[in-house]
């Protein structure tokens, strides 16, 4: 099966799954309203988005300088820095550290970057048990599933599935009550937190000025996972660095608001180095692993703007395509509009060529983006960059069509052909077509061209009427 057929098969399955489609519709619309309500409370939302976009732009343009400053500051406060060229290097570095600390039980804060490098499997393979501590991510893990949203990993699940997974995997009594389920998970995770020896997190923002890493969570698990274990390893994409602490304030105003509509997340954790002698708690060792994995290449190319993304998920929630196919159809850690850019860019092969094309370019993502990434324009640009890999028939058809449009007489012949070849159901509609047209008429009727085009009407008298 070709990559394109595989994508189409996933889409066909996704749109037919009414349960998931309904769950995703409900959740995304709820988040869209929450985001709009959250932004309505800001007096200067547009200015704030512009500022955030400019800060990211400036940082990306001077990335080596800010990374160097960040690295220097992390070291100064006692943290250790590791550079990972790609996913394999990141896994190797973190596995080596885990081995070195003789770790058996690692707790994880939800992190898309660790998903990107597929860290959990690598750790399990060397005998380290990894437990996800974000509730959604925990449920994904115990149900042997994959996240389908970058902020709300179980957006595709309903409470019955969650209840079944909890009863099966942690041996509790079956209940569908969300409060009860949360309490059960909490009790289970408390025991894990008591016994864990390694904490692993991503990084929402790395502040160059101070060497601070910032984690934004809603459940407090981020703080538990980075204070309780002796060692904290943070995996950070190189694009996550921002210049100053005061810039962080701008992003904190936007991140949760864009994600869930909250003015700020429940827990904003700022970590500047490991435990100091006078500190009552905190890890003895802090390791920051800086991940490239294709980002430096993106930065040098025409799609650098995608690196502004702060992974708020607002574009997923706003997207009518995501709403109907859910996250799994994208077959990527990063689904939705931003995923349709980032996935093919991070994996520069033909596997994901369909993603940028599976969009009506409606721009709802652009309207929602807190850092104003022009996603629809970038999708078109990415389509252009991969056009040579499009099927021969499509390329030929588009070229032929352009050729026909280059003269008014071939254009008119095209109009006549259409009138001849679009079958009439007797009421001026086409209900059964063949070829690409059949794709349309499988689910929609197509209006037939009336007997005279506008230009005929114009020439036959409209031009002279007054």
């Amino acid at each position: 099966m070709s990559a394109s057929d595989a994508f189409r098969a996933r889409v066909a399955k996704a749109v037919a799954d009414r349960r998931v489609v309904q769950a995703v519709h409900l959740a995304t619309w709820r988040k869209v309203s929450a985001r709009q309500a959250g932004f309505a409370l800001l007096r200067n939302a547009e200015e704030l988005r512009d500022l955030a976009s400019q800060i990211k732009q400036h940082t990306l343009e001077n990335l080596p300088q800010y990374l160097e400053q960040f690295v220097t500051q992390v070291r100064r406060v006692g943290g250790q820095i590791h550079w990972a060229k790609d996913a394999a290097a990141a896994r190797a570095i973190i596995c080596d550290l885990a081995r070195g600390y003789a770790s058996h039980l690692a707790v994880k804060v939800k992190s898309m970057t660790t998903e990107e490098v597929d860290l959990n499997h690598a750790l399990e393979a060397i005998g380290v048990r990894v437990v996800e501590t974000d509730l959604g991510e925990f449920i994904v893990q115990i149900d042997h599933d994959r996240p389908s949203h970058i902020v709300t990993p179980i957006i595709h699940k309903d409470r019955r599935q969650i209840a079944a997974a909890m009863a099966r995997e942690i041996g509790c009594e079956y209940t569908e009550d969300p409060t009860e389920l949360t309490k059960l998970a909490r009790r289970y995770l408390r025991d894990i937190f008591r016994r864990c020896d390694l904490g692993i997190s991503g990084v929402n923002f790395g502040v160059a000025e101070t060497g601070t890493i910032c984690l934004c969570t809603n459940e407090g698990n981020g703080r538990m996972s980075t204070t309780r274990p002796r060692v904290h390893i943070a995996l950070m994409g190189i694009e996550k660095v921002i210049p100053r602490m005061r810039d962080l304030a701008v992003f904190l105003k936007l991140l949760s608001r864009s994600s869930t509509g909250q003015p700020m997340g429940s827990y904003t954790t700022l970590i500047t180095g490991p435990k100091r002698p006078a500190d009552p708690d905190g890890p003895e060792r802090l390791h920051v692993v800086l991940l490239d994995n294709g980002r430096a290449d993106i930065l040098r190319g025409p799609f650098a703007e995608v690196l502004k993304c702060i992974r708020c998920g607002a574009c997923l929630n706003a997207c009518p395509v995501y709403r109907n196919i859910g996250g799994h159809a994208y077959n990527s850690v990063y689904p939705g509009p931003i995923g349709s850019l980032v996935t093919p860019l991070l994996n520069a092969d033909r596997r994901h060529d369909d993603l940028p094309r599976a969009s009506s370019l409606c721009g709802a993502c652009y309207v929602a983006c807190p850092v104003k990434i022009n996603i629809p324009d970038l999708l078109v640009k990415l389509r252009a960059a991969t056009r040579a890999r499009q099927p021969w028939g499509k390329r030929a058809a588009l070229r032929a069509w352009c050729w026909a449009m280059c003269s008014a007489s071939t254009y008119r012949q095209g109009q006549r052909l259409m009138r001849t070849f679009l079958p009439d159901d007797g009421e001026g509609w086409t209900t059964r077509g063949v070829g690409p047209l059949g794709e349309w008429t499988a689910t929609r009727d197509l209006p037939r061209p009336p007997s005279k085009s506008f230009r005929q009407l114009w020439e036959e008298g409209l031009a002279d009427e007054r």
């Binding site: 640009k381 588009l398 070229r399 449009m405 690409p436 794709e439 209006p447 230009r455 009407l457 409209l462």
Partner: protein, 247 residues
């Protein structure tokens, strides 16, 4: 005012009545309308598909065809957006063409915004509906219509029973080539759109975009929904007695 009509290939072929209505309404408001018959398509399908060299050929052709005209008006929001926003980007590499593209962009208008912003038409005095009406905004016109679309302008019409659909700015799923290339997604999207429109209870849908109309009307007919679709130009022409009302 002299106005050249850029009718667009979809309107020309599938919705000639809209083109006729535009001509009548522009004349009613004192414009002298010309129709450069050499015009074909603006190249949007090629542009959106990433076939930019081909789209650039059509863009340059279109610039030449409309070169003699001081004002260009189009009944299609998305084709107007193609000219206004994408032509200059598409032709950015060649300074001469880039300048020409910017000049055309600056004098090309979508029909409804042209009436509102350039002719300052008082809708209240020339448009009426004898039934509830709802509407669909073409997404690609978001920036030319402004943040609230045409809603506040329509609200000036006295006694209008304007039924604002839930999620008014939701895409209909047309997207040009996308509608056939990824038909199952496109279909799921139009069903969401129809749900919102049908829930308003109105049977008349205002839609100023031929592509969206094909998509939504086609899906509505397949589903047996009794919705009718009209361009604002048709409604104006009927209200002003310039066109026979269509049932």
């Amino acid at each position: 005012m002299n106005v050249a009509l850029f009718v667009t290939c979809l309107t020309d072929t599938f919705f000639p009545r809209v083109g006729t209505a535009v001509v009548h309404v522009l004349r009613h408001f004192g414009c002298h309308v010309e129709f450069p018959t050499e015009q074909t398509c603006c190249g949007q399908p090629a542009y959106n598909s990433g076939f930019h060299a081909e789209a650039a050929v059509l863009a340059r052709r279109m610039i030449e065809v409309f070169e003699p005209y001081e004002t260009v008006v189009s009944p299609s929001a998305s084709c107007a957006t193609m000219v206004r926003h994408h032509f200059p980007t598409l032709l950015a590499a060649d300074p001469r063409w880039h300048l020409a593209a910017q000049r055309l962009a600056g004098r090309t208008f979508e029909f409804a915004t042209f009436l509102r912003d350039r002719l300052a038409v008082d809708l209240g005095a020339c448009l009426w509906f004898d039934e509830p009406v709802t509407f669909h905004y073409p997404c690609h016109a978001r920036d030319i219509y402004g943040v609230d679309g045409l809603q506040s302008w329509l609200a000036q019409v006295p006694h209008i029973d304007l039924r604002v659909p839930e999620h008014a700015d939701l895409c209909c799923g047309f997207g040009g080539v996308f509608a056939v290339e990824h038909a199952p997604i496109s279909t799921a999207m139009v069903h969401d759109k129809l749900e919102g429109l049908a829930a308003t209870g109105a049977r008349l849908v205002l839609c100023n975009e031929g592509g969206c109309t094909m998509q939504i009307a086609g899906a509505a007919r397949r589903r047996g929904l009794p919705l009718r679709f009209k361009h604002i130009a048709e409604c104006l022409a009927e209200s002003l007695g310039l066109l026979e009302p269509e049932p």
